[in-house]
């Protein structure tokens, strides 16, 4: 079934270049927007936003792709019987690969901003994997329901848009903690705080200074969503395809 993944990529060959070009151009925009116009004193602020966007869009795109994976492949599903979990899985794998390619754009930025390379750079791909892992659990949970009511897809699109602002994409976890207040106290409920912050520390080469409870919560949430999502997908998928 890996062949199907490859087949899907073959047709997006031009897309490969775009996965790097787009974040690179975004980086330039962010640089001007944040460093020059707003007068933010952190010269790396544009990089933080860029990393946030890459990790968040890995989550968002994977979620949207997995939720719509059954409906998009309706004609294939009506033709051959094979394990239908393949569809969300291939969507997830392809999004992970595309996000990893996008994240290559941080490599030249290391040079531009004179950041030293450390082993912690592996945090970046780890964060991308974590973001995708969170998305697939939720996506498999929702995919069968999307066959019945496509409202699910619209709702997910809203979640991805709202989550963009509620997660530390345009801001950082450190900023929220510094400011304090209610949201700083409950911010770790958002399981995407960890992956995004992890990727930023990976770039900077500094250790993650979150408490162990944040790590435990994030991993537990991911695993629980995986289990629930797979169970719901397995039990509802047969009934759901009748609605396609």
């Amino acid at each position: 079934m890996r062949r199907e993944v490859r087949g899907r990529f073959k047709n997006a060959y031009l897309g490969y270049a775009w996965t790097v070009i787009e974040p690179a151009m975004l980086a330039v925009v962010y640089y001007f927007l944040f460093s020059l116009l707003s007068g933010n004193d952190d010269i790396l602020y544009a990089v933080w936003v860029l990393i946030g966007v890459i990790v968040w869009s890995c989550f968002g795109k994977t979620l949207q792709a997995t939720v719509g994976s059954l409906t998009r492949n309706a004609s294939m599903i009506h033709l051959v019987h094979f394990p239908r979990a393949i569809f969300p899985l291939t969507s997830t794998v392809s999004n992970i690969i595309l996000s990893l390619l996008s994240s290559l754009v941080v490599l030249p930025l290391l040079v531009v901003f004179d950041v030293s390379v450390t082993w912690r750079l592996v945090f970046v791909p780890m964060a991308i994997g974590l973001a995708a892992a969170q998305a697939i659990g939720l996506g498999m949970l929702l995919a069968p329901f999307n066959c019945v009511q496509q409202d699910v897809e619209h709702m997910v699109r809203f979640i991805v848009r709202a989550g963009f602002f509620l997660s530390p994409v345009m801001w950082t976890w450190e900023m929220a903690v510094e400011r304090g207040g209610l949201y700083a106290d409950i911010i770790l409920i958002n399981p995407m705080v960890l992956p995004i912050t992890l990727a930023r520390h990976g770039f900077e080469g500094t250790p993650l200074d979150m408490g162990p409870e944040a790590l435990v919560f994030c991993f537990a949430w991911t695993v629980v969503m995986w289990v629930i999502g797979s169970m719901v997908f397995a039990s509802k998928e047969r009934g759901a395809v009748k609605h396609l």
């Binding site: 199907e4 047709n11 033709l79 094979f82 329901f145």
Partner: protein, 244 residues
């Protein structure tokens, strides 16, 4: 391979939920559900060509999909021994933006064939489908007859144990119909099993060993082709001499 029938449906029933909404995936059968198949008992012998006739909406396609494992029956049991391929109406399962060649590769990979195996089969597919240079044009530019030719060429090249054909041959021209007929008889000669849904009674009587007449989700008659066709006309209250 074991002895016994190639396909066995025992007391198969299938309903389609009419109720929309997320709740449609929960709870049991509803009185509003549409009964697509009920009490289907059918055995298809190895090496047999079985025809299926009936009015539109009588459950022919649904029965084929149950045989292919696309839908799992709500009650009863459907068993197929061997690899099943479903060739459904007008290129279902094929992607319009991909070329004929890419579609053939994709279809093969979905059915678990390696890239190398498919490349070996490709010449035969192009020859049988008579698509020539068109094989590298996007599928959306194909006529319905060309799609049917490609579909039959691909599935027959994959050499399934059981081939289910859902009203595909009807759109081909007479020359292609003759070729398909020969191909189907070849397959059956090589211990393949074919189930054929069609409205072309001429073709059906010449190649089918038995014909099933379906009405309202039930099997109305199974037996000799001529008798089944008479049963069809009788049950619809139409005089075949007048209508043809």
């Amino acid at each position: 391979m074991t002895d016994g029938p190639a396909l066995r449906l025992s007391n198969v029933g299938l309903t389609f939920p009419r109720r929309r909404g997320i709740r449609a995936l929960f709870g049991g059968r509803q009185s509003t559900d549409f009964v697509a198949l009920e009490g289907i008992d059918l055995e298809v012998k190895r090496g047999e060509v079985l025809g299926v006739i009936g009015r539109n909406g009588s459950g022919k396609s649904t029965m084929l999909r149950v045989m292919a494992g696309v839908f799992s029956p709500d009650v009863g049991e459907a068993k197929a021994s061997g690899r099943v391929s479903l060739l459904a109406s007008l290129g279902t399962g094929f992607a319009g933006h991909l070329t004929g060649r890419e579609n053939a590769m994709l279809y093969g990979s979905v059915l678990g064939r390696s890239r190398e195996q498919m490349l070996e089969l490709m010449n035969g597919i192009i020859e049988f489908s008579e698509l020539h240079d068109f094989i590298d044009e996007p599928l959306r530019t194909y006529s319905s007859g060309m799609r049917a030719r490609l579909g039959l060429a691909v599935v027959s090249a994959l050499d399934p144990d059981i081939l289910l054909i859902d009203e595909v041959l009807g759109v081909g021209d007479p020359v292609f119909k003759e070729k398909s007929k020969k191909k189907i008889l070849d397959m059956v000669g090589g211990a393949g099993t074919v189930v054929l849904v069609s409205h072309s009674f001429g073709l059906m009587t010449s190649i089918c060993d038995r014909i099933v007449h379906m009405k309202g989700g039930h099997i109305d008659f199974v037996g000799e082709p001529q008798e089944a066709i008479s049963a069809y006309y009788r049950s619809e209250g139409v005089d075949p001499e007048v209508s043809e």
